[in-house]
Amino acid sequence: MNEHTEIDPITLAVLAGRMEQIADEMDATLFRSAFNPIIAEAHDASHGLYHAVTGDTLVQGKSGLPIFVGVMSFAVKAVIEKAAASGQAEDGDIWIFNDAHVGGTHLNDMRLVRPYFRDGELFCYLASVGHWHDLGGGVPGNYNPAATDVFQEAFVLPPVRLARKGEVNQDIIDILMRNTRLPQSAMGDLNGQLGALDLGVRRMDELLDEYGVDTVSAGLEALGHRAETLMRAELAALPDGRWEALDYLDNDGIKDEALPIAVALEIRGDRMVLDFAGTAPRCAGPVNIALPTAVATAYVAIKHIFPALPANAGVMRPIEVKIPEGSLLAAEFPAPVGGYTETILRMIDVIFSAAAQAAPDRVVANAYGTINALSIAGRRSNGQPWVMFSFYGGGHGGSLESDGLNHGNAPISTATIPPMEILEAAYPVMFRQWALRPDSAGAGQHRGGLGAVYEIEVLEENGAEAFLFGERGRFAPQGVAGGGAAAMNVFSYDQDGALAYPPMTSKMRGIPLKAGEAVRLETPGGGGYGPAADRDPAAVARDVALGFLSTAEAVRLYGTAWQEQQA
């Protein structure tokens, strides 16, 4: 790209909006046309524009999933490398892959990367990522808690050309469609992603017709500088120093051993280093993550702390992310990575805990910290199989401004939970409880949000089996600025008239349930903000009156001053 054209500030402001909108329109195109509800409704997808040489994020859509902001550039970098090794990128090429070890996240995320040419020269890359419903592997939907390598998780496709010079290679599509349990859904999603890339190409053509290559190039360059300048200004306003935080994953689902996730956050002037030395080595089970995922997660945490920053690689230029080799944050092929959500949530927690020591007003306390992938499955009396699969919510952390949000979604996602009535209409279950969980919030001047209680009874006379992949069963979400920890995740199930608990607390496969028996999931709340002693006694009395807090817990956490406020 041409870097020598000066750009006036007005054109720059207009271009910034126009390019962000190209990515937004690509998002909208896929959401509208995707077949599977994970993309269409939960918006588990993302689009953007990436640098022609480095693959760095230039612009990314606003409606896609947070974790994709940052991880997408790794997908583009992987394609750039592969293209360089196998003849250069050509106009009309489209690359496709799901290999998480080179592109980050997990194997359900299918990435399409298309080089964009202008006047015969490579100008930038357009990319589309979307969560496909199923790609083979050991478990439908690919969330296999017992996987010890990626092959047990899903079919793995490395970066290959889906189209060459505009000619689609039907062989690739045939291979993909033979490796999914849901080919119709997969085909629908693939068409939607191709449509989004087509739209992106048309919009880039229009933009370049209007402004010319030099001006747009200069604009992209300037936007990167601007993002970097913004980030540096934010960092410079924080005190210099080094702050550490340590937290743990319960276990990897294979071996019952706590796995430390550690970070040291260092600020010097307008630079920051995040060093994850001290984190556990690669493990046997699926809580490993690939290096691109780890770097992208740092980006997510930073963007939560500085929400006004643009989605542009310039933001990360003043930040160095050090991931120790051999750690579970840089697991190499073919380590299983299906449970990556749990690990990156813990990374975000430790970054928050460390950053809160530097800038308590900028950081919220830990959220509930686990995705709680729970499936209940069985066969109906007519032999038809059924699988109810969902993620469950918990509390957000308290902040300088307010208590944490009750029953929120995970920081890496924006997905909503399906309605209870839709689940009960689709599967032979009944929710005895779908409620907030009292005494689950971390104490503080601003307490955390409350977690939830979901109690699910099996109605099917053949019984069912339950599978859980969760975390935070042994280590609670932490408060910041002196705030307290929240309640931990508790999973229990009916077994011969008594309550039973999984030996690994938060992960278990094949729990047998008879008709009339239930599982009970109590999710963590969020950590508290500020010392509990600073909480307004009237707010404590109100929490007791509303039943958010038991009298005994209120006295234990906040003393007795609140009792004078009771009506």
């Binding site: 500030p9 007005i10 720059l12 402001a13 910034a16 909006g17 126009r18 909108q21 937004d24 329109e25 909208a28 195109t29 509208r32 077949f35 509800p37 269409a40 409704e41 606003k62 947070p66 629908g188 601007r226 300048t229 913004l230 200004a233 934010e234 963007k303 939560h304 929400p307 919220v364 469950y392 919510g393 957000h396 952390g397 949000l405 009750n406 029953h407 929120g408 979604n409 920081p411 924006t414 909503t416 939970i417 399906p418 309605p419 209870m420 009535e421 839709i422 009960e424 209409a425 009944m430 409880q433 779908w434 409620a435 907030l436 949000g449 939830a452 109690e455 109605l459 509303l546 039943g547």
Partner: protein, 687 residues
């Protein structure tokens, strides 16, 4: 009918607009008066009084109201309680596990009913309608007493799966209505018999929350009207763009949540369609926001639900309106990275732009328009101020935009408009794309106070060919009140495979919707040109959770619905699915989720040419010239009295057309033509 006049009244945040149509005399008149707070009825009656002295001469008063919206946004509804299924008291507070903003993880949420007023009773219905636990009516009565003791004015009954079998909920409601001292008892199966508990509970609870407030307000208005001799029909605009009688509005106040803006879109659709533009995108520019709505083939688009605020979901059909924070009061600022931004912070209408001189010192979009000469500083809109402070506006633009970006005052003002225009254009493009339309085939219709200043930019930035500025852009919503049809929407969850659907039972629901809808039309004393009945099914393939709307052509003999066949339903689904996704699934199993019915009484439309100017000469409308800045230079710009321009007048840019509530800008290279209805059509000179 007791009189001849029709009156539309739209109460907005700042102004109350009144449109009076006397069709017999062939005249229309408009009034704009300040909205009174907290009781809006003062401004309402004052506005009508400007043109009508004798209310007995009025046939219909139609009201677009923000009373419900404001009560929701400001949390000023009544103290209410809910009675719900055991285990589900927190559904309202848990929402659908969302969060207020994607980034930052800040913010919390308090539902309109606190937890201690959410009481559970033993009862449970399953998804297939089976009653697993019969309702404990003594527990219901005890709960009601507890809520009354706490001072609750209204109560909502929210039971699981009551859409599938209302028996438990109906028994509880009957028991409640015997002991509850007010008529404010809302039942979820009556308000919204549709699957999805949070959406149904939220809509029902918000209805209860609004009932005491809104019905009190409407009662006061009706009494005042009657006290003034009014004997005609009093009707309220719903969020779906249709009107309902005042009695229905008191029972279903939640349906007024977006009443005001909906009326504006209805008017825009009618005006544009009549003028020959069935496909139009409207842009309503107010003080804090720019509201965009898309009309295709003369029809506005309905969305099934909206969030009034975070977690406050109302699921009733609403005219789809997309809002971005770029209004006349939106503040221009330069961030730490050196980029010029517009909004989302706004000076609103008070203190408003710097030029208003009411205390704001940061420049707004309106200030840029003032500095560039596009707004006449000596004749501010609305008549509250005598003169706009151009010098103060220039200084603010200099300090906050010019200096940081090293631009002159004029360059900085142009920059503010370019960025604001670009954001508005972006909203228009995105609204079309999300609906699968190419924005270039639409016309643009600005309304509201500021929209017509930005028309040229919309043509240039979006590639739209024509803009149509209605005769009275500042009172479009009030005019929409007079135009809107009477309409009732119904929904019923069916939840059955299409192949084994019980069409007799489906037909029973259809008939019940038709009977209720027609009864409401009959009960009103309005005359209708025709009565329309339409049905849609929400359908999907088995395994999909998102549905497509499937319009169903159903024969209705007189008022009796003829049951559709399974083959008709399957064919209708295939056609709708094909249109949405371009292909069908070979072995997909079709499923019917919901039935949606609409009963519409088409009200006679008034002849828009009533509004057209009679006679006049272009030259006589010329008021003078003013220097206005476009691009990089000042142009001596002709200023016209817009309402005095005759039909067929052609005005070449640069020109400004002024009228009491709006300024229409015709930029260099554009021309405007007055059509036979008094609209101004703006296009490129070379088009």
């Amino acid at each position: 009918m007791s009189g001849k006049k029709m009156i539309g009244v739209d109460v907005g945040g700042t102004f109350t607009d009144v449109f009076v149509l006397d069709e017999a005399a062939g005249t229309a008149s408009v009034a704009k008066v300040p909205t009174t707070r907290p009781d809006q009825s003062g401004g309402f009656l004052d506005g009508i009084g400007r043109h009508v002295s004798d209310l007995s001469d009025v046939a219909v008063v139609v009201h677009g109201t923000t009373a419900g919206t404001n009560a929701l946004l400001e949390r000023k509804g009544a103290k209410i309680g809910i009675i719900t299924t055991q285990g589900l008291r927190d559904v309202l507070e848990m929402r659908r596990r969302d969060r207020p903003w994607t980034w930052g993880l800040r913010g919390d949420f308090e539902p309109v009913v606190p937890r201690d007023l959410r009481l559970e009773v033993p009862e449970r219905t399953l998804a297939d309608g089976t009653i697993r636990v019969p309702v404990d009516l003594q527990a219901v009565r005890d709960a009601a007493q507890q809520l009354l003791d706490q001072g609750c004015l209204a109560v909502a009954v929210l039971f699981a799966h009551s859409y599938a079998n209302p028996e438990n909920e109906a028994l509880a409601v009957a028991a409640l209505r015997e002991i509850w001292p007010t008529p404010h008892v809302s039942a979820s199966h009556e308000i919204l018999p549709e699957i999805r508990e949070f959406e149904r509970f939220s809509t029902t609870a918000l209805n209860a929350y609004l009932q005491p407030e809104v019905s009190g307000y409407l009662d006061r208005l009706e009494s005042a009207l009657k006290g003034g001799g009014f004997e005609g029909e009093f009707m309220i605009v719903q969020s779906n763009g249709g009107v309902m009688d005042v009695g229905t509005a008191c029972q279903l106040p939640v349906r007024t949540a977006l009443s005001g803006p909906a009326a504006g879109v209805i008017a825009a659709a009618y005006i544009a369609d009549t003028a020959g533009f069935p496909d139009v995108i409207t842009g309503d520019m107010g003080g804090t926001s720019f509201d965009v709505s898309l009309i295709s083939g003369g029809q506005s688009i309905l969305s099934p639900q909206t969030s009034i605020d975070f977690g406050m979901v109302v699921r009733t059909p609403m005219i789809e309106i997309t809002t971005i924070g770029a209004g006349g009061g939106s503040i221009a600022w330069v961030d730490k990275g050196g980029l010029l931004n517009i909004g989302p912070e706004s000076a609103g209408s008070n203190p408003g732009p710097v030029a208003y001189g009411l205390g704001n010192t940061r420049p707004t979009v309106t200030d840029a328009n003032v500095v560039l000469g596009r707004i006449d500083p000596d004749n501010p809109i609305g008549g509250k101020l005598t003169r706009l402070d151009v010098e103060a506006a220039s200084k603010a633009i200099d300090i906050h935009v010019g200096v940081p970006l090293n631009l002159t005052t004029l360059e900085a003002a142009e920059a503010i408009l370019r960025v604001a225009n670009s954001r508005m254009a972006g909203a228009i493009r995105l609204v079309s794309i999300e609906r699968g339309f190419d924005p270039k085939r639409f016309a643009f219709m600005p309304f509201g106070g500021g929209g017509a200043l930005h028309t040229g930019a919309m043509l240039a930035d979006v590639g739209i060919g024509r803009a149509i500025v209605p005769r009275y852009p500042g009172v479009t919503s009030a005019m929409g009140c007079v135009i809107a049809d009477m309409r009732q929407d119904f929904v019923q969850t069916i939840n059955s495979l299409a192949g084994t659907l019980d069409t007799t039972s489906l037909c029973r629901f259809m008939q019940s919707h038709v009977d209720q809808g027609l009864a409401m039309l009959t009960a009103s004393r309005t005359t209708f040109e025709s009565r329309d009945i339409s049905f849609e099914l929400d359908m999907a393939y088995l395994g999909q959770t998102h549905t497509v709307s499937v319009p169903l052509t159903v024969q209705v003999n007189d008022t009796t619905v003829v049951a559709p066949t399974l083959a008709q339903i399957a064919a209708a689904f295939d056609a709708a699915y094909m249109a949405a996704y371009g292909r069908l699934l070979d072995k997909g199993v079709r499923r019917v989720m919901n039935l949606r019915s609409a009963v519409t009484g088409k009200r006679p439309k008034f002849d828009l040419s009533t509004l057209a100017p009679v006679g006049g000469r272009t030259g006589d409308a010329l008021k003078g010239h003013r220097d206005v800045h476009f691009g990089t230079q000042w142009f001596s710009t002709a200023i016209y009295d817009r309402l005095a321009l005759p039909v067929g007048a052609e005005i070449h840019g640069p020109a400004i057309l002024e009228q009491p509530d709006t300024t229409v800008l015709i930029e260099p290279g554009l021309m405007g033509r007055v059509d036979s209805y008094g609209n101004t059509i703006i296009m490129r000179e070379d088009a």
